[in-house]
Structure formats: structure tokens, C-alpha cells
């Protein structure tokens, strides 16, 4: 096959391999070089680090920051409350401790942060500050390019190099050149981001990728970990964003940045009757108003004057320009019509929700040699961009210690050949299915039977068992995939990874017999509160041989019990 396809196999050695050149990955790479300049660092990036990942469109605020009204302790309390008590206190707290330090650091790298009249950062809320983040990603990319870091753009990671449960590197293929990469490393940090495209999206056809989370984040980091047998946590907690209808623009910019009230079709502020307003409750309340016939729901910015409208447009141009096009197409000013809101499709993401690798406080995964940071790391919701920086930094501090004691490992040629065949098979096999066809089938099943938009985000056992059965058939059809070029080959591997992630999501949803993450995880069979079923983590390890997701439970600890010592997961 190698000869027929004319693919060159590139073998490389490095000290530290970082998979994913987004916020966590770039910060980790820069820190590695600062802490140990002689350390060889390689970044494997499926796109081009200049504009890749979640920051591609820019952002207008940093949402995890400790303003003078907050402390790391109060930040933890907030995150814990928002997630009904089930979070990894040690992970959230260690993030909170360094949020401000990393923010100041990226300001030194060139990020423009807005200031108030006293030259302090301009607060948007108690945990949020305003920035001009149009070029946030190029600023990060420029900083890492100043260092002697090898950047492999347009190389899609496919699997880890694993031996006896330890990770020694990763495989990847280029989508621009006929090159297959085998990279051996003394330590690997996975920083690939979460997964979109598991569920049917809000919009269809030409607008199918008008999503909250980047459609190009297909969950490779999760899938690689699952296949390698890493322990994963909280995949039942899907993140569903409250967004502007159609253009899926951020609502925080309106609620926090423009003091907009959430109103129903009759102009009533429907949140005023709630004692406790958390991120998921804002969404749940909106769905409820619609169900009770009081929709559509809106964010009301009719109080804005001309200057306020201009400011609002600019904030969106910094992050989500499509709403500006929506106003232009409708020929209205932002204050002329209330802005309709809706729930997004569910995403699997550890930066807003908490699905991801089960990690130690040192950000080690359960596989020695592998660390996780950012959206792909579980247990610490609401970490956002600055939290991803902190996790990248902590992961590097500990990976560097491991590099010192670890010797290089020779790769068994059989493993290389096996992975090479798996990767290029869709170009070779006599199939008929396009990756997009399989993706549509996957998204339909997940939407209808695993709590997507059309099922009101709710699940029950009967439906989940149908999802499980249908997924098995979809998985079997992977061998019928047929692609013609390297771009489509990437799409084929994206759908393969998404199917596996969906399997894990369904297994987790079946296991959690409670309902306390409103909307994110709503099991109609178990509407009652039951602390025994609630205060724990649902984790899983995949048995590749039997193709089964094995569930294991882990206890939920308070910070006082576990402290913040750097504890390894493996």
C-alpha cells in the first residue's frame, strides 16, 4: 500500500510532543522553552497555528479572571455551585490560583486588554474582563514562533504510540503532503480541544457549520485517549450554549456586556422568579418559556443608545461577526428588535463543561507519559481560555520532570505498519460511503435518541439503548468509507473519532441515574434527587479488543479532603 500511495514515512524524535496548537498547546510550548531552553518541543497541529482552534474568530472577553471582588476560593465556590457540587475541586482551584498571572503574561505578549479610568483591567463581571481579542490567536502564534519550537502544521494526529499502557509519542498524517509521521517523545501533552459535530447542529445545509464550537474540533484527542485505554470522565455532561438564534452568536456579550434582560414573547423578565441563576438555568428557563407557549425568548437591548449600539457591534466584530451581518440583512439597528435566543446542539468539551481525560492535579492522565490540558482535560468546567493556559503550564512543569527520568523507546515496526494501514485505508478500500453521509447518520441518532435539540436535550434508558444499537451499525459501516484525497481522508478520521466519542457519551448517559446538571444531563427515568447517585464521577475506560466502554465510578472530594498537592493520575 505504501508504494501504491507513495506516502513517505517520517520518523522523528523529540523530548516533548504537544498535540494541538491552540491556547493550551501554545502556552505549554512557550513555558517548556522558558523553563528548559534545551528541551526539544514539537507541536502537531491539524490546521495552521496562526488561526486554528477556538480562538480563530477572536474573543471579546476573558471569562475566567479573579477581579478584586473575587478570590481563588470564591471562584471555586462559584464553579462548584454552577455545576451542582460535582467538579474536581483540586483542578478548579489550581486553575483559579494562576488565572491572573497568565492573563498578565498574554498582555505582555501583545493582547490588548481594556482598562478603566484607574488603568485597571475593565471588569465585565466579577470573573470577566473585556479585551480586544480580534488577533488573540495570531498573538499567541507569534509568541511561540519566537521560540525554537518545531511546528508541524496540517498534520492530523491519529493515535498515540503506546506500549504497556505508557505513551511514547503519536502518529499523524499530513493533509497537504504525502507524509505519515511517527513521532517519538519522552512526554506528550494532549491539547487538542473538545468535540463538535456529535449531535445534529442547529442549522442545516449551507449553515450547518454555523456552530458555537469550531466544527473543525472533531475530538481527535478524546478518541485517541479512548482507543489507548485512558480513563475519561463526565462524558454524560454535554455542554449546551445559550446563543443568538440562527447566527449562534454569544449571549454573554449581550447579558454581561450590554446589561440585557432575558425576556419572553410578552416582554416579561422570566429569570426574576428564579432564586438561583446559573449558566444552565438561564438555558433551562428559556426552554421552559418556549414549552409553556411564552416563546420566543429574547435578550433585550432596546435600552442602548446609538453609541451603545456601535459599541455592541464592535464587540461582536471582535468575536462573532455574523450577528452584524444579521442586523444588516434585516436592516435594523441592534436596539430596534429584541435578539432571539436558543440552545445550541450539545458539545463534548472540558473547557465549559467537564468531559475529558481524568487527570491528576499535575495534569497527568492515567497513561504514563501523557498529560492533558485545556478543553480535552476533564473535571474543571468554566476554565475557558485562561484556564487552558494555566493547565498547559502545569502540564509542562510536570512533563519536564518526567522527561528527565525517561529514556527513549524504540517503536515496534509492526505498530507503525498497523497504524499506517488504518490511516490510509479509506483511500484504498472499495467503499462507497462519504464521511459526510456517516456524519449525518451519527448526528441524527444522537439528536433523536441521546438528547439532542429535537428531543429537548432529554434522555431515557429506552431511547439510549436505541442509540447504542444504531451506533453499532454506524460503526460497522466505517469500513465502507471511501475518500479521494487527503482533505477527505481527514474528514473520514473525524467521523471515525466522533462515532467513538458518541459511544462513550451514550454509555455515560446510561450510567448516570440522576438529573442535576439542568439540560446538560437530563435523564427522564430519574428526575428525583438522590445524593448517592449524584455525588460521584462517572468515568470510563475503553476495552478496544471487545469494543466496549467499561464504566467506573470515582468519588467526589471537597478541596479540604484532597488538598492541592501535585498528585499523579497514573
Amino acid at each position: 500500500m505504501e508504494k501504491e500511495l507513495d506516502i513517505e514515512i517520517i520518523k522523528k524524535e523529540t523530548d516533548l510532543l504537544i498535540i494541538g496548537g491552540g491556547a493550551a498547546g501554545i502556552f505549554a510550548a512557550v513555558k517548556a522553552k522558558e523553563m528548559k531552553p534545551e528541551c526539544e518541543v514539537t507541536i502537531m497541529e491539524k490546521s495552521n497555528i496562526k488561526w486554528s482552534g477556538c480562538l480563530a474568530a477572536g474573543i471579546n472577553a476573558i471569562n475566567a479572571y479573579i477581579t478584586p471582588d473575587e478570590t481563588p476560593e470564591s471562584f471555586l465556590e462559584y464553579v462548584k455551585n454552577d455545576n451542582n457540587g460535582v467538579v474536581r475541586d483540586d483542578l478548579v482551584y489550581t486553575i483559579a490560583q494562576q488565572l491572573n498571572q497568565v492573563t498578565e503574561e498574554v498582555e505582555r505578549w501583545g493582547l490588548p486588554i481594556k482598562k478603566d479610568e484607574n488603568d485597571n483591567y475593565l471588569a465585565r463581571s466579577r470573573r470577566s474582563i473585556e479585551i480586544n481579542g480580534d488577533e488573540f490567536k495570531p498573538i499567541l502564534a507569534n509568541r511561540v514562533e519566537e521560540e525554537d519550537v518545531e511546528i508541524l502544521n496540517r498534520v492530523v494526529a491519529t493515535n498515540y504510540l503506546v506500549e504497556n499502557g505508557e505513551v511514547y509519542g503519536a502518529f499523524g498524517f499530513s493533509i497537504r503532503e504525502n507524509r505519515f509521521y511517527v513521532i517519538r517523545a519522552k512526554a506528550v501533552i494532549c491539547a487538542t480541544g473538545g468535540a463538535s459535530g456529535i449531535y445534529k447542529p442547529n442549522n442545516e445545509g449551507g449553515a450547518k457549520h454555523k456552530t458555537w464550537y469550531p466544527p473543525f474540533n472533531a475530538g481527535a484527542g478524546y478518541a485517541m485517549g479512548v482507543r489507548a485505554g485512558a480513563e475519561m470522565t463526565s462524558f454524560e455532561m454535554r455542554f449546551i450554549a445559550l446563543r443568538v438564534k440562527d447566527v449562534i452568536a454569544p449571549t454573554g456579550t449581550l447579558a454581561l456586556g450590554a446589561d440585557a434582560n432575558q425576556i419572553n414573547a410578552y416582554g416579561e423578565n422570566y429569570l426574576k422568579d428564579y432564586d438561583r441563576i446559573t449558566t444552565p438555568i438561564r438555558l433551562q428557563a428559556t426552554l421552559r418559556e418556549n414549552k409553556l407557549g411564552r416563546g420566543p425568548c429574547y435578550l433585550d437591548v432596546s435600552h442602548l443608545d446609538e453609541e451603545g449600539c456601535e459599541g455592541l457591534r464592535k464587540k461582536f466584530l471582535n468575536m462573532s461577526p455574523s450577528i452584524v451581518l444579521q442586523w444588516a440583512d434585516r436592516e435594523v439597528e441592534p436596539n430596534e428588535e429584541p435578539i432571539e435566543i436558543t440552545g445550541s446542539e450539545p458539545y463534548i468539551v472540558g473547557g465549559h463543561g467537564q468531559a475529558g481525560y481524568w487527570i491528576g492535579v499535575d495534569r497527568s492522565t492515567t497513561l504514563k507519559g501523557l498529560y492533558a490540558a485545556g478543553d480535552v482535560a476533564g473535571g474543571a468546567p468554566k476554565k475557558y481560555v485562561t484556564g487552558a493556559f494555566v493547565e498547559g503550564k502545569i502540564a509542562v512543569e510536570n512533563a519536564l520532570k518526567l522527561i528527565k527520568e525517561r529514556s527513549e523507546k524504540k517503536v515496534d515496526e509492526r505498530f507503525i505498519w498497523q497504524e499506517f494501514q488504518r490511516v490510509y485505508e479509506p483511500l484504498q478500500q472499495p467503499g462507497i460511503l462519504k464521511p459526510q453521509e456517516l456524519e449525518i447518520r451519527l448526528q441524527k441518532v444522537m439528536d433523536e435518541y441521546a438528547g439532542g435539540i429535537s428531543s429537548g436535550y432529554q434522555v431515557n434508558r429506552k431511547k439510549l439503548l436505541i442509540a447504542k444499537k444504531r451506533l453499532k451499525q454506524i460503526e460497522a459501516d466505517v469500513e465502507r468509507l471511501k475518500v479521494e484525497n487527503l482533505h477527505q481522508l481527514m474528514a473520514a478520521h473525524e467521523v471515525v473519532d466522533r462515532i467513538l466519542i458518541a459511544k462513550v457519551v451514550v454509555a455515560h448517559l446510561l450510567h448516570r441515574k440522576e438529573t442535576r446538571w439542568p439540560v446538560y444531563q437530563a435523564n427522564l427515568d430519574f428526575p428525583e434527587q438522590n445524593n448517592q447517585e449524584w455525588f460521584k464521577f462517572v468515568n470510563s475506560v475503553y476495552d478496544s479488543k471487545r469494543e466496549k466502554v467499561l464504566i467506573k465510578e470515582r468519588k467526589c472530594h471537597d478541596l479540604e479532603e484532597v488538598g492541592v498537592q501535585y498528585e499523579c493520575a497514573y
Binding site: S52, A207, T211, L325, A328, E331, H487
Partner: protein, 98 residues
């Protein structure tokens, strides 16, 4: 979501092809084309990077697009966005980016 490339203004520099996060832009018969408009996320990276403002962002009809477009250019420390509504009126917005 998607972008449209004006081949008359495009100088074929290839920057957009180099940076598109979705690997969606490519050169075909001496033109830059988008391989699948429906795959575009609307991040506008190519719109911002294009040195000749040959790329514009528009809303597809599935979400009510009526022909409004957005283009961008960089001037010093500012990004200048030009938004054209369906009637052809253009409004400019200047944003500090550095």
C-alpha cells in the same frame, strides 16, 4: 456560513489557503476557490488576512441571508470592517486590535 472570493481583486498570494482553519480554500485553475461553502465556520480569518480585501463574509439563505457582506482590512493598530447592507449602503467600524 461562508465566504465569497472576488477573483478580480484576488492576487493569488495564497495567504488564505495557508491559514484557513478548515483547510477549505484551494487554488484551482488559477483561481482561489472554496471547496465546500457549507463547511466554513465563519471565523473570518481569511477575510482579515486578505491583503486585497478580495474575500467577503455573507450569511447563507438557510439563516436568512439577503446579501449583506462584511470585508475587513488592517490599518496600523486598527481593524476596519466594512458592512454593506442589501441596499448597498456601507458602514465602517474601527476596532483597536493592538
Amino acid at each position: 456560513m461562508s465566504v465569497r472570493i472576488n477573483n478580480k481583486s484576488c492576487n493569488l498570494c495564497g495567504i488564505c489557503i495557508d491559514i484557513c482553519p478548515g483547510n477549505l480554500l484551494l487554488k484551482k485553475e488559477d483561481k482561489v476557490v472554496i471547496r465546500a461553502p457549507e463547511e466554513c465556520w465563519d471565523c473570518a480569518a481569511c477575510v482579515k488576512e486578505c491583503p486585497t480585501q478580495a474575500i467577503e463574509l455573507y450569511l447563507p439563505s438557510e439563516i436568512g441571508g439577503r446579501g449583506a457582506t462584511l470585508r475587513a482590512k488592517k490599518e496600523g493598530n486598527e481593524r476596519i470592517w466594512a458592512c454593506k447592507n442589501p441596499a448597498g449602503e456601507i458602514n465602517e467600524y474601527r476596532i483597536k486590535i493592538k
